[in-house]
Amino acid sequence: MSLLDGWWDDFFFGLLTVLKVFVVALAIAVALGLLGASAKLSNSRLLRTLAQVYTVVFRGAPELLVLLLFYFGMALTLTWFVQLFDPSVKFIDLPPFWAGSIAIGLIVGAYMTETFRGAFLGVDRGHVEAARALSLNPYQVFWYVRVPQMWRLALPNFGNHMLSIMKDTALISIIGLEEILFVAKMANSVVHRPFLLYVTVAMIYLAMTTVITLVVSQLEVRANRHLRGTR
């Protein structure tokens, strides 16, 4: 691997960027998933329709297209907005890190919405009624009764969505974020060993997805620990 000499630190910082995008996108996706699922299960027709449009659009459009739309679109909107206050500004763009994290968060949030919706429906109504009878307020019912039980049902799909986020981070190199695929492109322009470099990138991703898979299977064991022997 002497070929990669001098590039290890770039790969390392690229990996840090990937991990940062992963964390931010995951947080956005979970928040949107909870909001979306709550909206889909709410009594308000407006909220249900909005959530439906959200999931149809973001699950149907190619990830790359959403990312490009977001990156170039936000640049336009931001420039327009800032020029309202300061006409001397020529051009402002959303940093690729944020454009990418938000775009991936939005896309995977749509999948999370469906997963959480199904999982919320799987929570026994009796538990919710019992909690209400015990005079828990709606906030407590949501966070102490619904979410912990929904979580167990959602975990397997949740793990898959985490893998999607991890793999989608590779797309952000297209809008110029210096993550590992971007580093490999740069390194290749110097050392001209594309196969080795891209396989290195693949191996780093494989390691990341393996870790996620292992963590999720541990979480599943933990989430189902009180059910041991009952099924």
Partner: protein, 230 residues
């Protein structure tokens, strides 16, 4: 900032020029991927370790790494080998089209073989035992009992995989192919109207997703016509 609805309408026909290539990539890679998936499935289901392990490793690699990286390994990476550049494969591997088809097929094969395996494992053991009791051969049991039932069970997940393949074809634009996303990117570079153009492209993709889902609902209805409800 202005949002030009007319631009959406005028750009739709231009983006549709890429529709043919998008559908071409989708159909060719889906079919090749399905063939490959059946082969991997058979290896994965066999009891011989030297067949099972390569299949497992294949699935692990192609499901664990981003498609974009796989595409780059094939398109930019493989030409590194002089041996390959002088082989009969070179006329194919130097074409971005065949590289995209190869990456998409190899990638989807890993997912589809797991979807099909889920279907096979979901087939009631009793039915296979009944087949044995009736004296059907191993091949007859596989083709008359396991396969049709497994396909029926796998259909919903398979339709999702086709939709995800459609979305993946957009990545071909990163290796210079002018499918719909590629065309949209070129128009945006000319007009710098990202919202209108990319929204127009999104609309076309959404219509295609809708067509795929409707078609699969019909196929599922056909496949399940013998299953009595309730």
């Amino acid at each position: 900032m202005s949002f030009d609805f007319a631009l959406i309408a005028t750009s739709l026909p231009k983006i549709l020029q890429g529709l043919g290539l998008t559908l071409n990539l989708l159909v060719v890679s889906t079919l090749l991927g399905l063939l490959l998936a059946v082969g991997i499935l058979l290896m994965r289901l066999s009891r011989r370790a030297w067949l099972v392990w390569p299949a497992k490793a294949y699935i692990y690699f192609f499901r664990g790494t981003p498609l974009l990286v796989q595409l780059f390994i094939i398109y930019y990476g493989l030409p590194q080998f002089g041996l390959l550049r002088h082989s009969f494969l070179w006329p194919f591997l130097r074409e971005p089209y065949w590289c995209s088809v190869l990456a998409l097929s190899l990638n989807t094969a890993a997912y589809v073989s797991e979807i099909l395996r889920g279907g096979v494992l979901g087939v009631d053991k009793g039915l296979i035992e009944a087949g044995k009791a009736l004296g059907l051969t191993k091949f007859q049991r596989a083709s008359r009992i396991t396969a049709p039932l497994a396909v029926r069970l796998a259909l919903p997940a398979y339709s999702n995989e086709i939709v995800s393949m459609l979305k993946s074809t957009a990545l071909a634009s990163t290796v210079t192919l002018m499918e719909m996303t590629g065309v949209a990117r070129t128009i945006v570079a000319d007009t710098f109207a990202p919202y209108e153009i990319f929204i127009a492209a999104t609309i076309i993709y959404l219509v295609l997703v809708w067509i795929i889902q409707t078609a699969f609902t019909l196929v599922e209805g056909y496949a399940n016509q013998y299953v009595r409800k309730g």
